[in-house]
Symmetry: C2
Subunit: 236 residues, 2 copies
């Protein structure tokens, strides 16, 4: 079997950089973690915050610190550094080879979606961004890794998509439709959800948007690990 | 235009984990860096070393430290920590959006290949692994980012491929052949080079093998950044 991750990101229209940061890190005992942070506001300041949060979390994860403790440490760091004036959302998706589970850690009002084939649940228990209060705790869910498991987390650009035009995006309904395709790849799902949001924003995203999809697939006949990155390049 | 990175990795046959570590990190002023380290020997000890080296480098890069300084810092750290008894190779590929250049940093006897379309040069100036001597310096080359630029770096599993059977791999010749395809993706090039090495090893790699390919392509009509990760998953 194969574990696949697809990530698609776009920055707010007419800003120089995205305030969202997503990084993938190997776990010391096998498996991987994907860390997504969305820094308050947009542009350079937001990028600084989200980079700081993601760096903190992946450094701790690489040392073997558990996801929940890493999230609390990032929250305390941001709270201390910025005196509770700056917030960031934080999501950690960790696929652990030893426990054969997926751990979903949220400091994000937006839900995480978990689908077992076409049966979808929304993990929407109340969850606060980090950095505003002392001692903010993440909401943590753990599910067994099994064939067809699909998890989606995203930054709030998805929730804002289309709001200028009185529209909104029902991510769960979109995901149901996407999973009706023949064995969709996580990158296809991430790209499709992002495209849907972009269309609602008439091609000009009103906020930074990031979508992370993790999926267990019946592929991978070989023992090769692969990573592909593609980003726009302006050489003018 | 689009900047693409393709990474393919496999561990030595009959070992539990690869001693190679590859990570991709966003650069603070735009662009990205790919960091590859191959820790001495194989298995868990090698993994610990390569993880430590890559962590050190990406933490410094994320703070805005220049590639050469980050490589020297990683070398000094490893030398201090292990008393000069443990070595690691290190490669950094950095595509910088500001300078519009690709910086190739090597502490690795294996060369880096740079192709402008089908015209290939091998950057093979003598370069030592880090960790053995105090003050080891990397070899650094810088080339302009332009359409068709393709760069390949790899761990020494490629150089050892087939040696048990009296065979060896000519990476440059393989790359020439691969670039004759119609606009090959970096992932296709990385997968093909790894497959070639695997075949020379009769399907049982005699060492950890990692291949990193970076390529500037004429694609990317949108402003979306994408990252895809695929890894084998054993749920039994």
């Amino acid at each position: 079997m194969e574990l696949g991750v697809g990530i698609a990101k776009i920055r707010k229209y007419a800003t120089s950089e995205s305030g969202d940061t997503v990084e993938v890190v190997e776990r010391p005992k096998g498996g991987l973690s994907v860390v997504l942070a969305d820094g308050q506001s947009s542009g350079r300041g937001a990028k600084w915050i989200s980079t700081m949060v993601v760096r903190k979390v992946i450094t701790l994860l690489a040392e073997g610190v558990r996801d929940g403790a890493a999230a609390r440490a990032a929250s305390d760091s941001l709270f201390t550094e910025r005196g509770g004036k700056v917030s960031s959302t934080l999501n950690i998706l960790s696929a652990d080879n030893q426990t054969k589970t997926l751990v979903i850690t949220r400091n994000n009002p937006a839900p995480a979606l978990v689908a077992n084939n076409e049966d979808i649940i929304s993990l929407g228990e109340k969850s606060l961004p980090i950095g505003i209060n002392r001692g903010t705790r993440p909401v943590i869910n753990e599910v067994g890794l099994e064939l067809g498991l699909t998890t989606v987390v995203y930054s709030d650009g998805i929730d804002h998509a289309g709001s200028r035009f009185g529209d909104s995006m029902d991510v769960q309904t979109c995901l149901v439709a996407l999973l009706e395709n023949e064995d969709p790849s996580p990158q296809f799902i991430a790209d499709s959800l992002l495209l849907n949001a972009l269309n609602l924003d008439r091609g000009r995203p009103s906020d930074d948007i990031s979508v992370v999809v993790l999926r267990v697939m019946n592929r991978g006949e070989d023992e090769v690990r692969r990573m592909t990155v593609r980003l726009p390049l302006d050489l003018r």
